[in-house]
Subunit: 402 residues, 2 copies
DNA sequence: TCCCTTCCCCAAACCGTTTGCGAAGTGGGA
DNA sequence: TCCCACTTCGCAAACGGTTTGGGGAAGGGA
């Protein structure tokens, strides 16, 4: 399908007579058409209603198939056939088609989306659930989702639940009342499965029948830890995401597994759990404070994501610890601000926009019933090395504390 | 209207009989109802169609007014009346109402939004245009918009035009095809006016009939410049926003006016114009580089917004200039990252989420035709002093250059 | 003249609501 | 006893499209 255009518009473009020039010629033809056999017979018998308004131009009201039909002395059905290039259109002579298309263009006819949806039981609309709109992770994914959907003639309704369980429960119902054809969930854990196709980004494995587009956490953990390991870090602190965040457990397990393989010890005092349900750097600020104040001896932190990494860096600075000279910091996601933060963030990049596109594509395929999809679509992470990591300085470690 | 609930749902809650318990009792009543006068007469004459499926329970298909009506031996119209508490409902006996409400609850009837919209010509949907979804300015506004709309039972369709003129032209049409009732434009300049209510945030004055929610730029300029002036800065560089960004000209004029009042000279070599159409710090990076390389002698930069300020800080650092020791930087907006950047940004705060709410409220009022609104709704800025500004150090100024 | 095609287009049903109005039933007054 | 007005109840039509099964007219062949 052509981008941004609806099927019938497409039909317009394909079959518009090349030299159309206003329509007065066509009106002429219409008058001629009705003359030969005798207008009275036609009017009284064959076209009792329509004929009376034969050459009626238009006041200025909404254009419907019926108004067009009255203008052209054709039934709405015929117009619909032509404009949609429906199968039955074969039986309609080119001449009539041209008239229809011309008139539609002339009056800028636009079909009623609601009437069409009602009849065809298709809404070309999907629902998107995000934790928070101001969260850059979610919006980058959303950007990809949107790009793909719009190309396919779809729009989406967004609802942000701010991680409140009652809203996570309620919004899907609200969206289903709006007849969305499917859902995309971004960083959202659903308790009950829905009766529509669902694609989850950074999701949970638990939902029945949902496709999960999810980072290869194992690989991500390897990239992050091997990078720090190769720089020489052995005492590494870890942030564990909150249970409300959908990547949290998986990522944690993978990190721990890789740490074991690298023989990096992870004592409890070097781990901290995120508690806040926000999408600002506050998320990582307090937890990092806590880590530092436990006076544990570490030279690097693996943060849950970039946002919390930025909060952690701030916490380090508040304690007089320099990043990366005293503490190296690794984030996850590579959100937009990461490259321009100071210091710029070393991070595990997720191709967020790409993931959004993939999710949208899969959702549409599922809506169209084109194929059955695996439960999990893995996404490959990438290590982006920037300023926030460096080799540990053995002499300086832990010397400055506030 | 109760939040999140649609009128008819509200009606449910209000008038549900307190002791409803399954509905089997009701089915009994229906059977009794049809018996006294003689079912044959009723079936053949009064209710030719419906009576044949008197006590039909339900397979598992979608529940419509008609299926409910068949079940209850009532017409869809009656059900609709009851469920909506429409005026005409007075004429329907309480007993019937109870039966209807009970059945609706039992089968979890949910009205078809599309059918209703088609009939009532209301869609409870608005369109939102943003430059870019990953832009924190836009999404913070959007968060406010969403919050208000959802409380009022509205949803919104988003389209991001990435500042491409053809898309800015096309998307409104696409959204109007979807029968949105109005538009909210965020940081978007429209060329033609639309035939629907429009509220613009950070908009242009040019659009006919649009309400502009706009920062008091004069006051903002005063806050920014007086702050720098009081710190002792006299040589100040300025970034001018791109012509595609809607606040740009206004903000620039106000800054220049205030500078004149403060007798701050603004020679051309201390001004630079943003050219990129992006929402990342790149926006300000190259322009700041240019300012610095012109080797003009300045101790502070007033950036177009926070995003460009972050880029500018990076440019300063790349040239070995410290912020704020060598150069003070002021931003605009107070986006989410501003407080946690390093150094944290001194900025002119716009209450973005608040602005979104206000815009949504005004739009709904205009849609409902409740009042006529002023063209401009001013928003009051606030100076937030953080780390990126400090008094200039006369000795060190311009000593370090790369 | 009659039948059979072919050509062109339409009527009708349908999607699921809402709403204006008409048909029964009821009570009161003349 | 009859009429009228008023309630009570519920229907039919409309909203604006899509889709399907034909049907009328023209034309050709026997």
């Amino acid at each position: 399908m052509n981008r941004l255009t609806h099927p019938f518009v497409f039909a317009f473009e394909e079959s518009l007579p090349s030299g159309l020039c206003g329509g007065s010629r066509r009106v002429q033809e219409i008058i001629e058409n009705t003359s030969p056999i005798g207008p009275t017979v036609l009017q009284k018998e064959c076209m009792p209603k329509r004929a009376k308004s034969a050459a009626e131009p238009h006041p200025g009201q909404p254009i419907s198939l019926r108004t067009l039909g009255e203008y052209l002395n054709l039934s709405p059905a015929t117009i619909s056939l032509v404009l949609n290039n429906a199968p039955g259109v074969r039986s309609i002579p080119q001449d009539t088609r041209d008239r229809v298309i011309e008139a539609a263009a002339k009056f800028d006819y636009r079909p009623s989306f609601f009437a069409r949806s009602l009849r065809k039981r298709q809404t070309f609309t999907v629902g998107v659930l995000v934790p928070e709109l101001s969260d850059n992770y979610a919006t980058q994914v959303l950007a990809g989702v949107e790009e793909f959907l719009i190309e396919e003639g779809y729009f989406y309704l967004t609802a942000s639940h701010r991680r409140k369980p009652d809203l996570i429960e309620e919004y899907p119902r609200l969206l289903m009342d709006r007849s969305v054809e499917g859902f995309i969930l971004i960083d959202t854990i659903l308790e009950k499965s829905l009766s529509l196709p669902v694609v989850v980004i950074a999701g949970h494995r638990k939902i029945e029948g949902a496709t999960n587009v999810v980072l290869d956490q194992r690989r991500a953990a390897e990239l992050a830890l091997r990078h720090l390991y190769q720089l020489g870090h052995r005492k590494i602190a870890f942030m564990r995401g909150g249970s409300h965040s959908s990547d949290a457990d998986d990522r944690w397990n993978c990190l721990m597994a890789v740490a074991r393989e690298l023989k990096i010890a992870v004592p409890p005092e070097l781990t901290v759990q995120l508690r806040l349900r926000v999408s600002t750097p506050e998320l990582g600020f307090e937890p990092a404070n806590e880590l530092i104040q436990r006076s544990a001896d570490f030279t690097a932190i693996v943060c849950y994501n970039d946002i919390s990494a930025i909060g952690a860096i701030r916490a380090c600075m508040d304690h007089g610890l320099r990043v990366p000279a005293d503490i190296s910091v690794v984030g996850f996601d590579d959100i937009q601000g990461a490259a321009f933060h100071n210091p710029s963030l070393t991070t595990i990049r997720q191709p967020l926009t790409q993931m959004g596109k993939v999710a949208a594509r899969i959702l549409l395929q599922r809506i169209r019933g084109q194929a059955s999809f695996p439960d999990i679509v893995p996404i490959h992470p990438e290590l982006v090395i920037r300023e926030s990591t460096a080799p540990p300085d053995p002499k300086r470690a832990r010397s400055k504390r506030s």
